[in-house]
């Protein structure tokens, strides 16, 4: 029985899911198709409603 998890997609959702599972102690394999993670969120300058920096 495998205790590993696969997360497909390294945008904000994939990053959050991976970090949560990794913190729980599971081994996570995060697969992202582009050269770096961040997804659409990384393209955003600021986020609402707090105007925080996206990166």
């Amino acid at each position: 029985m495998s205790k590993e998890i696969l997360v497909t997609g390294g945008g904000i959702a994939g990053i959050q899911a991976s970090l949560d599972l990794a913190e729980m102690g599971f081994k996570v394999n995060l697969v992202e198709q582009s050269p770096s993670i961040g997804g659409k969120m990384a393209q955003l300058d600021k986020t609402f409603p707090t105007n925080d920096c996206a990166i």
Binding site: M1, S2, I15, Q16, K27, N29, P35, T47
Partner: protein, 452 residues
């Protein structure tokens, strides 16, 4: 993002794709293809010396095509992993031409043109699909004239213009002005070259080109071959110098965009394309208008929408604050058409439904709030993972278990699941993580095992 890169329990496989998924909940066998970057991940330090020297310029998709990158690149400056990648479609060396400049520059000796795709096999108990969305292409809506009118741009393009690390370093330069500036730069290069040729003749004959040309045209030096060349060069120089002068004069009047319009529901709530609401675009436009006003307090924004959907914690207050403090006007009405006005200014034609009148207004820049559509890769992914999609093309999930796909052990979260904003994506991702953990715990291991 940095935390993902250095967490001991996360194996990050960027520039990779899942090719095959077999088995069942608790015991999946997954095949992943790690695409060749032609750069050794263990050696590359991410210093970027290679891309400084790379001679091949490619349109930068990260900046929505508003800027350029090189054929060897990092997706963006703070990217994780920072490993650079060679774009095999544009690299000269990989397309059989002589180059290899990056390999000569790289001090870490990380460039490897012979690198091949690698296949990695994984045994996993559960899978989370967080494959996101793709932005709607507004050129599908003919009446908005996107791509035809330069100063009509998408919300993502606007985002890159606002960004301090973007192609304009955060200045709201209009695309039409940027096109003129690019043309000026191009003509200046040509003019410099032709000027050099004229300088040689001027030195040789001790006379200015304009003066000489006057004499030449009045019939002097008719049989002089060398002077004929000079005259031809001068005529060619004028075809560059004259338009250059005109364009430079035009560019003197350029400033940043101050009068903005935001058009809502571009591709969404539209039965020709997607009938659903993309949920985040109202707030996205308000945020963009507020940030633009922060950049320059003279900026005014008009947001055109059927209604403004500010549903979320603190969202309504944000909307009201935008109206009171950031010069935003909310106009109720769906924009019917965008046309080209004088001075490259787009004109928005709409019905003001409060006054029941058809009106038009000219702007410096029009921003289209484009819909959140299912990812282009979804049909392939659905087949690979053996899951169903809903009628719009997002991964299908149950009404009572909203994170579960149609295949047990596989969960979907974020925009792969449907349009949602960042806070909602984060909440769903945490929920999907819990569902995945439940599967693993239920299927045998009583406690999670730390990675070796």
């Amino acid at each position: 993002m940095l935390d993902v890169g250095r967490h001991p329990n996360i194996e990050l496989m960027a520039y990779s794709e899942v090719e095959k998924v077999e088995g069942k909940e608790g015991d999946f066998k997954v095949t992943v293809r790690k695409k060749a970057r032609y750069v050794d991940e263990d050696k590359c330090t991410g210093c970027g010396a290679c891309k400084e020297k790379c001679p091949t310029v490619v349109s930068d998709a990260f900046n929505e095509g508003l800027g350029d990158r090189k054929a060897i690149y990092s997706l963006f400056a703070q990217g994780i992993p920072s490993t650079h990648t060679i774009d095999p479609d544009h690299c000269r060396q990989l397309n059989g031409k002589k180059c290899g400049v990056c390999a000569k520059t790289c001090q870490a000796e990380a460039i490897n043109f012979d690198q091949e795709d690698r296949i990695v096999n994984l045994d996993v108990g559960a899978i989370i699909l967080a494959t996101g969305y793709d932005a709607f292409d507004p050129s599908r809506i003919p009446e908005y004239n996107y791509k035809k009118i330069k100063n009509v741009i998408t919300s993502l393009e606007f985002e890159r213009l606002l960004s301090a690390s973007g192609p304009t370093a955060g200045h709201l330069d209009r695309p039409s002005d940027r096109a003129v500036e690019a043309e000026i730069a191009d003509l200046e290069k040509k003019a410099k070259k032709s000027r050099r040729a004229l300088d040689k003749f001027e030195e040789k004959y001790g006379e200015g080109s304009a003066e000489f040309h006057e004499k030449y045209r009045s019939g002097s030096f008719a049989d002089d071959e060398d002077r004929k060349k000079w005259a031809d060069k001068y005529a060619a120089h004028l075809t560059v110098a004259e338009p250059l002068k005109t364009l430079k004069k035009k560019a003197e009047g350029f400033g940043t965009a101050k009068k903005l319009a935001f058009v809502q529901c571009v591709g969404s709530r539209d039965f020709r394309f997607y009938p659903f609401c993309s949920s985040y675009c109202c707030m996205h436009s308000i945020k963009e208008a507020i940030i633009a006003h922060e950049h320059d307090s003279e900026t005014t924004s008009a947001i055109y929408g059927m209604d403004i959907r500010a549903v979320g914690k603190g969202f309504e207050e944000y909307k009201v604050r935008g109206g009171n403090q950031s010069n935003i006007t909310y106009l109720r009405g769906r924009v019917a058409e965008i046309t080209q006005g004088p001075g490259d200014n787009p004109v928005v034609i709409y019905e003001d439904t409060r006054e029941r009148k058809v009106k038009s207004e000219e702007y410096d820049l029009v921003v289209l709030a484009i819909a959140c559509q299912p990812g282009n890769g979804v049909p392939r992914l659905a087949e690979v993972f053996g899951v169903e999609v809903n009628r719009f093309g997002f991964f299908k999930t149950g009404a009572t278990d909203p994170l579960d796909t149609t295949r047990p052990g596989i969960f979907a979260c974020g925009c792969a699941h449907g349009p949602m904003d960042i806070p909602e994506s984060v909440a769903q991702a945490s929920a999907a993580a819990s569902r995945a953990a439940q599967v693993l715990i239920a299927s045998g291991s009583n406690s999670p095992q730390m990675a070796a």
